[in-house]
Subunit: 104 residues, 2 copies
Amino acid sequence: MEKHQPTPPYYAVIFTSVKHPDDAGYSEMAQLMEEMVSSQPGYLGHESARDGIGITVSYWESLEAIAAWRQQSQHRIAQSMGKTSWYERYTVRICRVEKEYRFP
Amino acid sequence: MEKHQPTPPYYAVIFTSVKHPDDAGYSEMAQLMEEMVSSQPGYLGHESARDGIGITVSYWESLEAIAAWRQQSQHRIAQSMGKTSWYERYTVRICRVEKEYRFP
């Protein structure tokens, strides 16, 4: 997110997940989704870390932009495969970023 | 966050950070803060992952609860040491959780 520094208010999607030990096909799909999301209207960037639990936070200009990506056809296929094959559990939180502080 | 499943709206603080390679004293302070925050009024839980970038998301009942923890005296000392000793950079985002979806 260092290239994009939007001023609040903007929106964040917090995606926390635990994957199954066998996640065949996951990394290829994650790579594809990463490429596709980058050209979505209203997409501002994302940050991701995983050790045991995975946390991905994506940033968006509006709730409408989030909804459009959620409905995007290849993304819907990925969501469906996530439920049947990759994720033991996940939570998606749609948030409005009210304030931010940066250091330095 | 599995024990606590608050219903939106509630609040999230997204803390993303990159640490210096030498972070002497960090893990002890992180452990202490984890113990202290758990008894803060309005604290609902947190989730954390680090690989290169660190992402910690804490959940709160209100903006007032977030502000009180930010001003808590030992936490202020930790924040100060974070700036002088541990963090190359960080961003704190204060968010209102509007909606959430869970699987399964």
